[in-house]
């Protein structure tokens, strides 16, 4: 946007500007409906990461890193891991590992149902999405550093 030279051509940039939000929304939808429809934390997290990678491919790394920097990707990934682990460990309060005792199952086929499964999906999606994006960023920055040398 600011730097006209970075990234791909105007066509790609325009299409990306139109589609990247939809891709992100689709990823979030897959994650949130993981307990109702096929999909879940892993696949939704990959789609969320792909939307940021899409942004980086089209606009260059500065724009994408301004949206989600490398440090924040690492922090989000660790946060997802800790969240998943703590959900699992909370089950010990009720008896055993991964026991769902603090959330009701709700009515099946509605969005707020199935107890801890949506929470686990969100944690996994944070982990997978941020982790994949962090790997991609690391590879991109690594290539840039060797080229400068």
């Amino acid at each position: 946007m600011e730097n006209k030279k970075a990234g791909m051509t105007l066509i790609v940039k325009t299409i990306t500007r139109l589609t990247v939000g939809l891709i992100l929304l689709y990823g979030i939808y897959i994650v949130l409906h993981g307990h109702l429809t096929p999909g879940g934390g892993f696949s939704g997290g990959v789609i969320i990461a792909l939307s940021f990678i899409h942004l980086m491919l089209a606009f260059g790394k500065e724009v994408a890193l301004k949206k989600l920097s490398e440090v924040w990707a690492s922090i989000l990934e660790s946060l997802g891991a800790i969240m998943f682990l703590s959900i699992a460990a909370l089950g010990f309060l009720g008896g055993y590992f991964f026991l769902n005792f603090f959330l009701s199952k709700g009515r099946p086929f509605t969005l707020f149902s199935a107890g801890i499964i949506p929470l686990c999906n969100i944690a996994i999606s944070l982990k997978v999405g941020a982790g994949l994006f962090a790997i991609f960023v690391a590879l991109v920055l690594f290539k840039g550093l060797t080229k400068e040398k």
């Binding site: 109702l36 990934e77 891991a81 699992a88 199952k105």
Partner: protein
């Protein structure tokens, strides 16, 4: 009883692997630890884990031997072809005999299928409230497995970040 013997054997092999001078012998001692672990899984009635452990152990052993074999070579390669050939043929014969008896014991193709899955399909919706059965299995019935997978992924990401960052910093300076 066997389990305790195995655990003692594994501890002993791990101590050998740490303390021994020769690199190749150390790698082989690590392989012995892995073999003991897969036997322990077998004794604890987890054959699928035993198979996985065996495969992973063989792969790791091959990679480690490939990595260390250039470093120090106390090997004698000449004049042992007769011993090598005979031992290879003996191993193949043993393997074929044992696999002949083992394959006869296997159940028919697809025979005891859906023993566990039947319960999941019957009670999945009632017990977890999730209409996507796959989600209810990977996050509720088998949540522990998913935690392990997440740990593997986390370790992989951290490994990539650490390895690449280190090289980048040295090149950047």
């Amino acid at each position: 009883m066997e389990l305790h013997l195995l655990l003692l054997f594994m501890i002993f092999a791990a101590l050998v692997a740490v303390e021994i001078e020769d690199l190749l012998s150390s790698v082989i001692a690590v392989g012995a630890v892995g073999l003991g672990l897969s036997l322990a899984f077998l004794i604890l009635k987890a054959p699928d884990l035993a198979i996985t452990q065996l495969v992973v152990e063989i792969l790791c052993l091959i990679i480690l031997i490939r990595a260390t074999i250039k470093k120090d070579l106390p090997l004698i390669r000449d004049g042992r072809w007769l011993f090598n050939t005979v031992s290879t043929i003996l191993f193949i014969v043993f393997f074929l005999i044992f696999s002949y008896f083992a394959l006869k014991e296997l159940p028919d193709f697809g025979q005891p299928i859906m023993k566990v899955a039947k319960e999941y399909i019957k009670d999945g919706l009632l017990k977890t409230g999730a209409s996507n059965l796959v989600a209810s299995i990977i996050l509720d019935f088998r949540g522990y497995d998913t935690l392990g997978e997440a740990t593997v992924l986390f370790t992989a990401v951290i490994g990539v970040l650490v390895v690449i960052r280190k090289v980048g910093r040295i090149n950047g300076k």
